[in-house]
Symmetry: C2
Subunit: 294 residues, 2 copies
């Protein structure tokens, strides 16, 4: 079995994996999730992902009822059952189901835990070698004062609208701004630009998800004496960057070669982006080698 789904611990073939239509994830997007990429048999940075899952859950008062270690063990149990290398592993925890349809979250329900082990949809290699074309979405990123992007939840319509706009314009993806016109993030990735040798990304307090790849990259950048700034920038400032790239757990680092049709820098992956990609791959290898020897 290479691909599978576990629902509350029970293993299913993907096509047999069903959930009640009374589940609050299905009704309201009332759940949290994480996606972990495995390299070989190792779930990369799984500790960071599960810490974030627990943080997301806590932000919406969802008691998963399991410790960090219990969740990690369960992920490995399910993943090992699939017995496959290099997979996409998603965990969704919803607030559970009740036959009473009512948005009130204070009912006492048993969470539903769904784990997906799926093949990774490999991106066309040219997106790595040539960079991606993105557009500015017309919708703003959800404000953290309304629905904080740091709650990694089942509410992804803001992001879906943004990527839908990009696809209509034949772009690879979209980036969203806040209501002030400052760049926040893509629908499933953080964004950075490089200007005068400095790596610049939106600050922690902006309307973004605190990406795990973003966090790891920061530590790598600082260790390797890159200059790292966290500050807001506008679409126009971004267009004037020397390089730009996106970060995400599944797609890792991708160079951005244009925004709204304006070429960024040389229009090719720049030296900082290329260097960081290599260092990030090195970090992954070291992490996985360290776990294998355990």
């Amino acid at each position: 079995m290479s691909e599978l789904v576990s629902i509350n611990g029970k293993i299913f073939k993907p096509e047999d994996a069903l959930i009640s239509v009374f589940d609050r994830g299905f009704l309201f997007g009332d759940g949290v999730y994480e996606v972990v990429r495995s390299y070989g048999k190792i779930l990369f940075a799984v500790e960071d992902h599960i810490d974030r899952l627990l943080k997301s859950a806590s932000r919406i008062d969802l008691d998963i009822g399991l410790t960090r270690e219990e969740i990690i063990n369960e992920l490995y149990r399910v993943y090992n059952h699939a017995n496959s290398d290099d997979m996409y592993v998603r965990i969704i925890v919803t607030r559970g189901q009740s036959e009473r349809i009512n948005i009130d979250p204070s009912q006492s329900l048993k969470p539903n835990i769904v784990v997906y082990v799926k093949s990774i949809e490999k991106s066309d290699p040219k997106f790595y070698t040539e960079g991606i074309d993105i557009v500015t979405a017309s919708v703003y990123r959800n404000s953290k004062k309304a629905l904080d992007p740091n709650i990694k939840s089942g509410n992804y319509l803001n992001n879906i609208i943004a990527i839908g706009e990009a696809k209509k314009k034949k772009a690879y993806d979209a980036v969203m701004t806040n209501s002030e016109g400052q760049i926040t993030e893509g629908p499933t990735w953080n964004i950075f630009m490089v200007k005068d040798g400095r790596i610049i990304g939106p600050p922690d307090h902006s309307d973004i998800l605190h990406g795990i790849t973003r966090k790891i990259l920061k530590s790598i950048a600082l260790e390797n004496e890159f200059k790292w700034d966290e500050k807001y920038f506008t679409v126009e400032e971004f267009k004037g960057a020397d390089e730009a790239f996106s970060t995400g757990s599944v797609k890792e680092i991708m160079s951005i070669r244009s925004l709204d049709g304006s070429k960024i820098g040389s229009g090719k992956p720049g030296p900082v982006t290329t260097k960081l990609s290599g260092l990030y791959k090195g970090y992954i290898k070291k992490y996985c080698d360290g776990r294998k020897n355990k």
Copy 2:
């Protein structure tokens, strides 16, 4: 069979109604819905609800693949199968499912259509005779520039957080403001205040769902020579109202007797609220009688 669920036309007992965990409603809240209340055997204002469902779907480029009439006929077919009076009828249409987990909405998928026929959770009568206590949520209502509340979708976490805050404070429910501190709406209802004989609610262009009950009430109010204003008001202005009430399809009209512990007017359902409730019930009766004779 008094309660049932239909999935893509097939009827199930509620406990047997299951959907794929790859459904985009479950994964991302990527779907739209409506709730219609039936009175006797009549689905009240179903035309307005299905018009709004189609509008919500169009806003997220979801092609339901059915006309207004086909959807209404299908709702009646499922509802008549339940053969029950005075029910809660919910229709959810998601963008469908694919084994590829990817938020890109431009894939060509077949929507999943789920219809629920459930008993109405009757509210304690005292909420009608005495009014409800509400609090101001700390989260702002989603901005229409980010995720328009007029898209009645599977993304309800903003609303869930608001009502969760209210329940922690032992209040009945919460009302949300926009980032300017102006009142928008409750998690599942529109809000109005009465001041100096005028009925005042947030304007159409505010961050609210255009409620069907709100729309009907406006026509009733104007027909009966009430003064009807649509303009913004703050929490403080609301506290100085003579009366206040909420409107929603299931709960109809409920008097609001306090906000954040401040009594509104006399703290009891006021004359305008009471008059409007009666007129609204009259409107429902007329609508249903008209349909029965067809």
